[in-house]
């Protein structure tokens, strides 16, 4: 199932440092949304508030609301562990569990929280998730090899399979291709196109072509200067952002005149 994300008046802090200020955004289900903007403007920081991974950093906190199909993720009593099961995440550097086999990596999420499954259900899930991540054909003969024995691009697709296996509603990706070669990057972009049918996808990218290739909507973040908080400057259809944006800063950024 795919869900709608809505952030209202979101401020994000690292201790006393306000890193991102006053974000209001609505992300529709079954769409791909790209976050773009210069380095340090708070794209990753904001992305990590959408599955409550931000607060993993000591002293980090958030004010405001993030609604997932209307439910506030930051309401009192909400368990961040359950939020993260609904909102999966893929990181910039591929991070399969190094000591686990490929198969166990895919199953890592479903085995959590006391989850039990029959062997055949597990086999099905492993195959389905790896197929979903376009990795099945490459690894089906070596599911028991360690996850770290794969190439970087394969590892990243394994991480996507791992995220998909727990059947989240949303998948967040923080520069998922920045450590990959062009071929692997295309493989992941094709995959995002597929995943969009079932999930809400938010992707941070520094690659303008990638944003135009994969996303339906684009959010441009910017920062006034070092030590200042980042802001969401403009959010619109990707075609609008890249052809005739309303804000001058956006136009400067996407045309490469800045940042």
């Amino acid at each position: 199932m795919s869900k709608r994300i809505e952030a209202t008046d979101l401020n994000v802090y690292y201790g006393d440092f306000l890193a991102v200020e006053g974000v209001n955004i609505e992300i529709e289900p079954r769409t791909v949304t790209a976050f773009i903007g210069p380095s340090g403007c708070g794209k990753s920081t904001f992305l990590r508030t959408l599955n409550r991974m931000h607060e993993v950093i000591p002293g980090a906190r958030v004010t405001g609301e993030v609604l997932l199909d209307g439910d506030n993720l930051y309401a009192p009593g909400v368990d961040p562990v359950l939020v993260r099961r609904q909102v999966g995440m893929v990181f910039q550097r591929p991070n399969p569990f190094p000591t686990m086999s490929i198969r166990d990596n895919v199953l890592a999420g479903v085995k959590l929280n006391g989850g039990r499954m029959s062997k055949s259900d597990q086999d099905d899930l492993v195959e389905r998730s790896l197929r979903g991540a376009n990795l099945w054909n490459e690894v089906k003969d070596r599911l028991d090899r360690p996850g770290s024995s794969l190439s970087g691009g394969q590892q990243q697709r394994l991480c996507i399979a791992r995220a998909v296996a727990v059947q989240p509603d949303v998948i967040l990706m923080d520069e998922p291709c920045s450590a990959l070669d062009p071929i692997s990057t295309l493989a992941i972009e094709d995959l995002i196109e597929e995943l969009k049918k079932e999930y809400t996808i938010v992707i941070v990218t520094h690659n303008m072509q990638q944003a135009t290739r994969v996303s339906d909507k684009t959010a441009f973040f910017n920062i006034a200067g070092t030590g200042k908080p980042g802001h969401l400057i403009e959010y619109d259809d990707t075609s609008v952002i890249f052809s005739n944006p309303k804000v001058k800063a956006t136009e400067d950024y996407v045309s490469g005149r800045f940042g």
Binding site: R84, F97, T99, M100, S148, V166
Partner: protein
């Protein structure tokens, strides 16, 4: 081309430092070799002696070698006692040490973690004789109710069987104190390794919806496994050589016994040397040095195993080996 690859003339400072550090390395090797030679030379007469016919060794007014007909049956119970008491200490101490290390690295708030780490390090600075006295005056009495309980209800298990010690001078009390003594080294090493877990792996687990404990099981413990093993072995190395805990808490005898709660306990090599040395005659002292040689060899083997495991499976090392294999 070749000339360009040749070493440039080194500066004077480099040469001096190189000389100093090389010399230091050699001094350590020499000391080690010297100790080994000393032990071998001094122990040889006692190990080679015909114990049954030696008036010195059968002298019942001195030492505790009388009644044994060679060195090996004499050192056997001591080796057993050394390893046995150390193992009990490990079984009790390691889980606690790892628990403390995990608490410091992943559960406690920053300021508390600092204080705790400092306290554990302080524990390492307590002289072992103080621990020994604490064992005699506090631990013995403290353990009595537990010992009584274990002996009367679980006495059918050989470990807890036998005649319950009245005074509390049990090997259990000695091993508890040993466990406290090895706590700091195991805690310190494990804590360092837990803290080095790549946050990449930890975040991977958390982002899948792992609770803290699940994250620790998925990311931290697998990463730290070899480190924990070698920390434990280093703790074992320390326990093997520890003297006071057993020497003054337990009244050791030259026996094999697995019972934890009685007055009849095996001694350890270090405790036996400390207790017997002053009252022994010359050949008996050589025999004691022979037992010291055995302890040296066992400790050396354990420490060597610990280092070897670190070098083979340390996180960096593991990756290197795997690359080499797939290349």
């Amino acid at each position: 081309m070749r000339a360009a690859l040749r070493k440039p003339p080194s500066k004077a400072g480099d040469r001096v430092f190189l000389g100093l550090s090389t010399a230091s390395a050699w001094v350590i090797l020499l000391i080690l070799a010297g100790v080994l030679v000393f032990l071998l030379v001094k122990a040889a007469p006692a190990i080679a002696a015909n114990w049954a016919d030696s008036s010195q060794l059968q002298d019942r007014t001195a030492g505790n070698t009388a009644g044994w007909n060679s060195f090996w049956p004499y050192v056997g119970p001591l080796l057993f006692g050394t390893v046995w008491s150390s193992l009990i200490a490990l079984v009790m101490g390691t889980p606690v040490a790892i628990g403390i290390a995990l608490f410091i690295s992943h559960y406690s708030p920053r300021p508390l973690a600092g204080v705790l780490g400092y306290l554990v390090d302080l524990l390492a600075a307590v002289p072992s004789i103080v621990f020994g006295l604490w064992g005699v005056f506090v631990m013995r009495d403290f353990l009595k109710p537990f010992s009584t309980f274990l002996n009367s209800y679980l006495g059918w298990i050989p470990l807890f069987g036998g005649d319950l010690s009245v005074g509390g001078a049990t090997i259990l009390a000695g091993a508890v104190v040993l466990a406290v003594m090895i706590l700091p080294i195991i805690t310190a090493i494990s804590r360092e390794i837990f803290l080095q877990t790549p946050s990449l792996n930890e975040e991977a687990a958390l982002a899948l919806g792992a609770t803290k404990w699940e994250m620790i099981r998925m990311a931290v413990l697998p990463y730290a496994r070899s480190g924990i093993v070698s920390a434990t072995l280093l703790g074992l190395g320390r326990a093997l050589g520890e003297t006071m805990a057993i020497a003054i808490i337990v009244s050791p005898k030259l026996i094999y016994s697995f019972q934890l709660l009685t007055d009849n306990n095996p001694g350890t090599i270090a405790a036996n040397i400390a207790l017997q040395f002053s009252g022994s005659n010359e050949l008996q002292r050589d025999a004691l040095i022979g037992t010291g040689l055995m302890l040296f060899l066992v400790s050396f083997a354990v420490n060597f195993a610990a280092r070897w495991i670190i070098s083979q499976t340390a996180p960096g090392g593991r990756r290197r080996r795997r690359k080499a294999r797939t290349a």
